[in-house]
């Protein structure tokens, strides 16, 4: 009886799958549609109503992005990538430490601390940006790269902390304690036992913080005040009007730049033989 039941469920499962696969396939198309539209627009030159494809293509948009009139396209991209990397590393270190404090120790204020860490999730970035701008100006860090990195890190922190708490809890302290008992120093115990277990989370947190910083417009605008130019702030005026080809060219370069960095992280994950736990990436 049980066997036939199991067989029946198996059959049902197989019957259910085409539907699931179709659903996933439709989602793939929905995801790719806007990206391909932007990609086509980036190379479109003349595209009159009601044609479904452009009549003429040109590299005008891409050239504008990379070597714009004042020749700053590549410099802006370099600066954005540098800022995003700094944010990713800083936020991840801070989050890893916070997660360790929360998961491995009992102390007064632990519950309050772990709750406060996720509060930035619940307060809009715009509110934080408008409130903190004056303080940054008075501290002399507005309109500086450092100020922008600091502000971005604050916004990325709750995401990084959530990821790091998950892995730190999963890693536990048993191996590290064992290493300590066997006479290894604190640093060595950590590096050879816990760190490898945390690695997938660290890479996941780095990639999440990187993305958050790279695509931050409003906060960069208010803190950077036009002096710190990133890809997101340079691109935005084109989006809100004006030349759609240039806007799309910025868009597609933006997507490619993020994607390349993401692939590097994926490659690093595999290289270090951490493929088993990459489910953190979804």
């Amino acid at each position: 009886m049980a066997a036939s039941n199991a067989a029946a469920t198996r059959r049902k499962k197989r019957n259910g799958k085409p539907f699931s696969k179709l659903f996933v396939a439709i989602h793939v198309l929905i995801v790719l549609l806007p990206i391909s539209v932007i990609a086509v627009w980036a190379c479109a030159d003349r595209w009159q109503w009601p044609l479904l494809l452009p009549e003429e293509f040109s590299m005008r948009g891409i050239e504008e992005v990379l070597f714009s009139s004042n020749g700053q396209g590549l410099a802006v991209m370099g600066q954005s990538i540098a800022i995003a990397f700094a944010v990713a590393v800083l936020t991840t270190i801070v989050a890893a430490m916070a997660a360790r404090a929360i998961c491995n120790y009992t102390w007064v204020g632990r519950n309050a601390y772990s709750f406060l860490l996720v509060v930035p999730f619940l307060i809009p970035t715009t509110v934080f940006a408008m409130g903190v701008q004056v303080l940054f100006i008075h501290a002399g860090i507005a309109r500086t790269v450092f100020g922008v990195i600091l502000a971005h890190s604050i916004c990325a922190l709750p995401y990084a902390v959530t990821i790091m708490i998950d892995v730190t809890r999963a890693a536990g302290t048993r191996l590290e304690d064992a290493a300590r008992t066997l006479g290894a120093g604190p640093l060595r115990s950590f590096v050879s036992t816990t760190l490898p277990a945390l690695m997938p989370g660290i890479l996941s947190s780095i990639s999440m913080s990187y993305i958050l910083s790279f695509s931050q417009y409003f906060l960069t605008l208010l803190i950077g005040g036009g002096a710190v130019r990133t890809f997101a702030t340079v691109m935005f005026p084109y989006l809100s009007g004006g030349d759609r080809t240039i806007a799309a060219a910025y868009g597609i370069s933006f997507i490619l730049a993020t994607f390349v960095v993401f692939l590097i992280f994926e490659w690093l994950l595999r290289r270090f033989g951490l493929g088993k736990r990459t489910d953190l990436y979804g």
């Binding site: 659903f23 404090a101 509110v127």
Partner: protein
């Protein structure tokens, strides 16, 4: 080097580890609270330290404020509810179809990596009067010229804004739930299936309750984000009513610096609304913690 007893070190360690995070949190709350204070007219750097409710009163008596609040709440509530339903469905379907790594990369990672305003750009390219979608309708003989199609930009229903949030946030919700779901499907789901439960029933009685914590968290993140984000409603929203962050930023940009108090009063109202949600989240979290014990 000074020798500190091991016990003391062990007692200090968590505070030392928590310190950098606490510094960042301090700046965050200092910024937010400073903004809220400015809403009460307190701007120490201008020598104004008198508490006043004028700006809040002015904000509340303004005719377009209530419609802005309602509009922002409407946009974020609709986006968050649909994103949760869509995200949980995608997550369940992906678990069931045992999708490949590449599909996950496309379905979840690409939307997470793509900036909101770029999705807005794509929506503009697709659904404005001369966009691709009306062109397609033209070829099907439904639309005759660009002016007959109601453009997505400025539509008061905000369907373009919601569309952008859904495209971005459905995969985000899936990202938050897919790992848990895969684990459940491997262990408990298998057990339920062997015992003869049908997949739909298993999903609603086993999987969904176990994902509740992650779902509530994802809902709050999506809701607050949609409620407080500037770019998308700025690019796609109608002239009236304006979304709250757009309204606040317009006041903030005013050359008259005193006008900032007014922007901050609007921000204060946003913080109040978000705090209510934070409170609900905190209660849910406490209950869950108790439940686990």
């Amino acid at each position: 080097m000074l020798k500190i007893p091991r016990k003391t070190r062990r007692a200090i360690a968590p505070y030392a580890l928590a310190l950098p995070g606490a510094v960042l949190l301090f700046i965050f709350f200092y910024g937010v609270i400073n903004g809220v204070f400015q809403g009460f007219g307190i701007m120490p750097f201008l020598g104004r330290i008198e508490f006043t409710l004028d700006y809040y009163i002015e904000a509340f008596t303004r005719s377009d404020l209530s419609s802005s609040i309602v509009y922002s709440l409407y946009l974020s509530a609709v986006s968050a509810v649909l994103a949760i339903i869509g995200g949980v469905a995608i997550s369940a379907v992906m678990t069931r179809a045992r999708t490949s790594r590449l599909t996950r990369l496309v379905n979840i990672q690409i939307p997470i990596m793509t900036m909101h305003s770029l999705v807005a750009l794509a929506v503009i390219c697709l659904f404005t009067g001369s966009g691709l979608f009306p062109r397609l309708l033209y070829h099907l003989g439904i639309v005759s010229d660009p002016n007959t199609f109601v453009s997505v930009v400025g539509a008061s229903s905000g369907w373009g804004i919601i569309l952008v949030y859904l495209w971005k946030e459905i995969p985000f919700v899936a990202f938050c739930t897919v790992t848990i779901m895969a684990n459940i499907s491997d262990s408990l789901g298998e057990a339920a299936a062997t015992l003869g439960a049908n997949p739909l029933k298993t999903f609603f009685t086993v999987t969904l309750p176990l994902c509740k914590g992650a779902i509530v968290k994802a809902f709050l993140i999506v809701f607050t984000f949609a409620f407080g984000s500037y770019e998308v409603p700025f690019l796609l929203g109608p002239t009236l009513p304006k979304a709250m962050p757009v309204l606040a930023y317009i006041e903030f940009q005013d050359p008259d610096i005193i006008n900032r108090c007014y922007a901050m009063a609007l921000n204060g109202i946003m913080v109040l609304i978000c705090s209510l949600f934070a409170l609900v989240y905190f209660i849910v979290l406490q209950r869950e913690r108790k439940g686990r014990m």
